[in-house]
């Protein structure tokens, strides 16, 4: 069943992909006979066929994950999105400290070690990557102090 649902979803994407390739995509002129549209038409059509084959003959019936696990994974993805959202405005140090604390706590660490770990990930990561290796990381609201 789950295979069918997934293949169905991919089928919709692939159909949209092919339809665009047959309608919208095209160049005012081109020097090669294929143009920008032929390749997407070919691979898109093949993808549609593959999805159809999967829907007809699915392999996996059940998703081997409990509702509770899925809920927790959704929380994880939420945390990651929050981290991505805050990464630039708050800067690396603060966002990383917050994220590392939250995730390690979520995975069962106790408050003190989690806090220690989070601060060292944020500050240590910044010192190592930004100050020593000169990588481009956001300073965010701590800009004035760094």
């Amino acid at each position: 069943m789950i295979d069918r649902i997934f293949a169905g979803a991919v089928l919709l994407v692939a159909l949209a992909y092919v339809v665009l390739a047959f309608t919208v995509i095209g160049a005012p002129f081109q020097y090669d006979p294929l143009g920008p549209e032929s390749w997407p038409r070919i691979i898109g059509s093949l993808a549609v066929l593959c999805c159809a084959a999967l829907i007809i003959r699915p392999e996996i019936e059940d998703f081997s994950a409990s509702k509770q696990t899925l809920l927790r994974l959704a929380i994880l993805v939420g945390m990651l999105c929050a981290y991505a959202f805050l990464f630039k405005p708050l800067g690396f140090i603060i966002s990383t400290t917050m994220f590392s604390f939250a995730l390690s706590k979520f995975l069962g660490a106790r408050v003190k070690p989690a806090g220690l770990f989070a601060v060292s990930a944020g500050v240590g990561g910044y010192v190592l990557c930004k100050m020593i290796l000169d990588l481009n990381l956001p300073s965010g609201i701590l800009k004035q102090f760094l």
């Binding site: 160049a27 005012p28 002129f29 081109q30 020097y31 481009n136």
Partner: protein
């Protein structure tokens, strides 16, 4: 140094010393609308090190990649239109995007062009043993049978590299749609294809050819600069002097948001003009592989508007835009 030059510098630095240092630019920032390490990064680095003496605080470089500059121009037309501190790096490629509508609604009139930091120029290159010994050979063959020549360059249809070919053909009323053009992924692959014989003519840039001059493998038929350029290219004629109206200058410079205060804009212009006069600026330009082309303020703005209009003409002529 003659007295006049000296006094200008003195005057400029005095005027700068008073208003600009205390004035509108308190946290100068250069936006490179790309990933670290590319051409825009380099443009910002020139400003950063070249304007060290003119700025009270060092210029910070910020990266803002996305859509070959589209993300940056969007931002500077929506939220940061009046940011007096920020300058954004642009190149002729950005101008081309404005001309052909790749930046959506934002056009050259939506920003204030500030200053240039240098230039590169187009070059028409063939292998040493090519059947074309001169630009005239090449163009004569093109007029006879355009389809018989395979031209290659590092960019797609409508890119800067393609524009060079289109301009050259345009000087003899030939349509770029009728040529045989192969788009490679950058200059390195194109030169390899030229040496390996996959293509016959390469529309390159002077800057990347420095390492090939005098190696006896490539021949530059002409450079697409307004005037001859210095060594090691001094012996190479320009397309214009050979009678082909094809000039392609790859400009690198900065723009600001359209609502910045005149005070800040002028302070930046003066800072650049002061820097242009220094030896250090020329050295930095050279180190970064740029040829001198120093223009700021209204002069630059006028020159750019003219360029963009020309690009739009070519693109329209080839049917790339309506």
């Amino acid at each position: 140094m003659n007295f006049k030059k000296f006094s200008t510098i003195l005057a400029v630095s005095l005027t700068l010393a008073a208003p600009a240092f205390a004035g509108p630019i308190d946290r100068p920032e250069c936006i490179a609308p790309a990933k670290p390490g590319g051409g825009f990064d380099l443009t910002c680095r020139v400003a950063q090190s070249g304007l060290k003496a003119q700025m009270e605080k060092p210029i910070q470089v910020t990266f803002m990649p996305g859509g070959v500059g589209a993300v940056a121009i969007n931002l500077f037309n929506t939220t940061r239109t009046d940011d007096d501190n920020a300058i954004v790096a642009f190149s002729s490629g950005s101008l081309l995007n404005m001309a052909t509508g790749k930046y959506g609604e934002w056009k050259e009139s939506d920003v204030r062009f500030l200053a240039s930091v240098g230039a590169d120029f187009g070059a028409i290159v063939v292998p040493e043993d090519s059947r074309f010994k001169s630009l005239d050979d090449l163009m004569a063959a093109a007029e006879k049978d355009l389809k018989s020549i395979v031209v290659g360059a590092g960019g797609s249809i409508g890119s800067q590299d393609w524009m060079k070919a289109a301009l050259l053909l345009g000087s003899r009323q030939l349509s770029p749609r009728d040529m045989r053009y192969v788009a490679f992924d950058g200059g390195g692959e194109s030169i390899a294809a030229l040496l390996g014989g996959s293509i016959e003519v390469y529309m390159g840039d002077v800057g990347e050819l420095v390492s090939h001059v005098g190696e006896g493998k490539l021949r530059i038929l002409a450079v697409m600069s307004p005037e001859r350029i210095g060594a090691p290219f001094a012996d190479i004629p320009t397309a214009i002097e050979l009678g082909y109206d094809a000039e392609w200058t790859i400009l690198r410079g900065f723009y600001m948001g359209k609502n910045v205060s005149d005070e800040a804009y002028n302070a930046w212009v003066e800072a650049f003009e002061a820097a242009y006069e220094t030896e250090e600026f020329a050295t930095i330009q050279k180190e970064k592989g740029l040829l001198p082309l120093n223009m700021a303020g209204a002069e630059l703005n006028a020159s750019i508007l003219e360029r963009v209009a020309k690009m739009r003409d070519i693109a329209r002529g080839a049917g790339l835009i309506d």
